[in-house]
């Protein structure tokens, strides 16, 4: 197996032009801005941020599902290597087999008029991966078994299934073309807690068994903490902190990461109101503030933060943070007891 990252993103920006009205000037939404990131082979890479932070757009760009404004994304596995900004049609067709998406809402993602067998078989038929019906059925049964769906399930329609079972069907459909890279966009957000843990465990075991690489997008830090080995935190289209999961949770460096962590409601009723509260809301990506994008809500912002934008230095496998003051803040704050 190669040591090369599966995904190597360099200086990626994705902008969406929107019209402000008939005579109004054109407005540009800067959904992703200058993101550089490596996703190592066989990793479970977490991407976390509030709504509007650009995490879904980044995931879509890696699937070549949205136009890339500038920068590059390189996909590599042991067979091929594609520059996603400049793929040919034939390469893109091949890439679709290698990269797949698992959606958020298992109720909306499955056609109510198709049997589960047909839903799972569709990618094989569309991509022409199997030649005979027997071969298709065999592949469907194999992947269904891995996702804990039995033969009886395959004959039924999606409405007969609960949320957790539906998400297992979505997973089987995403995995049937034997992809190497999976984007899971809020794939457990719509599930109940008792089911959520089950689906997370399934994803983890499939990743290990099939040697997959995951980009796991979520707004929920506690879920990310449990399943991912690396985490990137996004805010207003920028990466603000990247680190191995344990390093991040042991000692978060960016004030935004700290605020996100302390905003998770504690299960202890005696720990009420001790969260470090963020004022205000995420600014609009059409009109981002100058300097550090977080300065409007940051309790530690000083003059330099309002002028100069801090940048991530590395491509993200070690603990890296985009903040002018993190070292100073880490030194001044006594480590808090966990």
């Amino acid at each position: 197996m190669s040591d090369k990252p599966v995904m190597s993103v360099k200086g990626l920006s994705v902008h969406y032009p929107i019209s402000g009205g008939l005579f109004a000037p054109k407005v540009v939404v800067r959904a992703v801005e200058n993101v550089t990131l490596d996703i190592p082979h066989r990793s479970f890479f977490g991407l976390v941020g509030e709504s509007g932070s650009g995490k879904t757009t980044l995931g879509r760009a890696m699937l070549k599902a949205t136009p890339i404004t500038s920068g590059s994304i390189r996909y590599s596995d042991d067979e091929v290597s594609y520059d996603l900004a400049e793929v040919t049609k034939a390469e893109l067709k091949d890439y679709r087999k290698r990269a797949q998406l698992i959606f958020q809402d298992p109720y909306a993602a499955l056609s109510p008029r198709m049997t589960v067998r047909d839903i799972i078989a569709e990618p094989l038929e569309v991509m022409g991966l199997t030649k005979t019906r027997e071969e298709t059925d065999k592949r469907v049964r194999e992947i269904a078994a891995k996702c804990r769906l039995n033969l009886e399930h395959l004959r039924r329609f999606p409405h007969a299934f609960s949320g957790g079972q539906r998400q297992r069907i979505s997973i089987a459909r995403a995995l049937v073309s034997k992809p190497r890279f999976i984007v899971a966009d809020e794939s457990v957000a719509a599930l109940d807690v008792s089911i959520q843990a089950d689906v997370l465990n399934l994803l983890k075991s499939l990743q290990e068994e099939l040697g997959l690489t995951f980009l796991f997008i979520s707004h929920d830090l506690s879920v990310i903490a449990h399943i991912c080995d690396h985490v990137a935190v996004m805010y207003l289209g920028r990466l603000v902190e990247t680190a191995p999961t344990r390093a991040l949770f042991a000692a978060p460096r960016h004030p935004y990461t700290k605020a996100l962590m302390s905003a998770i409601p504690s299960l202890d009723p005696d720990h009420r109101g001790q969260a470090q509260k963020l004022e205000g809301e995420i600014p609009s990506p059409t009109n981002p503030p100058p300097g550090c994008k977080f300065q409007t809500r940051c309790p530690h912002a000083i003059d330099i933060c309002r002028v100069e934008e801090p940048l991530l230095e590395h491509s993200g496998l070690e603990h890296d943070v985009a903040c002018h003051r993190w070292e100073e803040l880490a030194a001044s704050l006594t480590p808090e007891p966990a």
């Binding site: 509030e50 709504s51 609960s162 949320g163 957790g164 079972q165 109940d192 807690v193 008792s194 089911i195 959520q196 843990a197 089950d198 997370l200 465990n201 707004h219 929920d220 830090l221 506690s222 879920v223 903490a225 449990h226 999961t245 344990r246 949770f249 605020a259 996100l260 962590m261 905003a263 998770i264 409601p265 504690s266 299960l267 202890d268 009723p269 005696d270 720990h271 009420r272 109101g273 969260a275 509260k277 963020l278 004022e279 809301e281 995420i282 966990a338």
Partner: protein, 332 residues
């Protein structure tokens, strides 16, 4: 003073597939100034329970014969089930009882300004003049932390951000000074940082206005941060209730224990996540006996799948409906 008393609430829905039981023999009460958390997964009947308090369930809803809901206001007790006409129901809808919904975008009319919606209900329920209603509404918007309230008052819901909409919703619900506030997943659609702000706001407002709150959520963390007492629901039944500390620290029912174990814990990343085995049964295939026995790790064959366990004491004010808890009590 007991503000609300719910006794033997049973509720089903007529559907093409037959009568579906949504709520099964639920009883609880709420004091003024108390926050009760109603926790459960989707399909547990927590939202329909709350809607019953204002009789907001759709026409195919069938209430059980023994259902009794008593709301005690300044003018004395009201038998909610006995309210028939829309006119009679005005006492519980909008005025004395207010509701906050999950999705603030869906609960504001898109083509009417936020201000008009706020003043309309005040003119209706409180007999205010338009000017009085406008003044109070802008004051309420200020109180919930919306800056530049006079401008926001004239805007439409789509011009407000998600957090601001939910604040406006809260301002609107509280402007009639309700005695009972029903909050149905008020923070679920919000980001965690905004959720923390809204939770703080609601706590301040309870202290100030002293109304009773029923806080519906699936998030036990939110319950821990807001509620005084909690009722855990599963498939239409309340299976455990008690003070919030007791229930979260010493959960007695296997379902509550399972829910707590299934939560990813930030302070313990080494323990693998443990889901509750199996899936929530379809409401059409309601299990006999204890509703949880199909997924329960300690279910006793021949007992849990036959008899329905009744609520029994665990400790002071803490009750659970489980045979294992009952046996333990007998043994000690």
């Amino acid at each position: 003073m007991t503000l609300l008393k719910v006794e033997n609430l049973t509720l089903g829905f007529h559907t093409d597939e037959g009568l579906i039981t949504a709520v099964d023999d639920v009883s609880f009460d709420l004091e003024a100034g108390e926050v009760m958390g109603l926790v459960g997964e989707s399909g547990s009947g927590k939202s329909v329970t709350a809607k019953s308090l204002m009789k907001l369930n759709p026409g195919n809803a069938v209430y059980g014969d023994k259902t009794k809901i008593t709301l005690t206001l300044d003018d004395g007790p009201i038998d909610v089930m006995g309210l028939r006409t829309a006119r009679e129901m005005q006492v519980v809808r909008g005025g004395s009882v207010s509701m906050i919904f999950q999705e603030p975008m869906a609960s504001f009319a898109p083509a009417i300004t936020v201000g008009d919606q706020m003043t309309e209900q005040l003119q209706l329920h409180k007999n205010m003049t338009r000017r009085e209603a406008t003044e109070l509404s802008i004051e309420m918007l200020n109180r919930v932390g919306i800056s530049d309230a006079a401008t926001r008052f004239k805007q439409y819901a789509f011009e407000l951000s998600g957090g601001m909409r939910q604040r406006a919703m809260i301002a609107m619900a509280l402007s009639t000074s309700p005695k009972l506030l029903i909050a149905d997943e008020p923070t679920t659609a919000l980001d965690v940082t905004i959720q923390a702000q809204v939770i703080d706001l609601m706590k301040d407002l309870v202290d100030e206005f002293g109304m009773g709150i029923i806080f519906i959520t699936h998030d036990l963390g939110v319950i821990a941060q807001t509620a005084d007492k909690v009722a855990v629901m599963y498939l239409g039944r309340v299976i455990e209730t008690g003070p919030v500390r007791e229930v979260l620290r010493n959960p007695a029912h296997p379902y509550t224990q399972g829910l707590l174990n299934a939560l990813p814990d930030l302070e313990d990343l080494d323990t693998p996540l443990s889901p509750i085995p199996g899936d929530i049964p379809s409401p059409l295939e309601r299990p006999t006996g204890c509703v949880f026995h199909t997924r329960c790790p300690i279910a006793m064959a021949g007992r849990c799948d036959v008899e329905i366990p009744q609520m029994g004491p665990v400790s002071t004010g803490h009750e659970a409906a489980c045979f294992a808890v009952e046996d333990q009590r007998m043994a000690s």
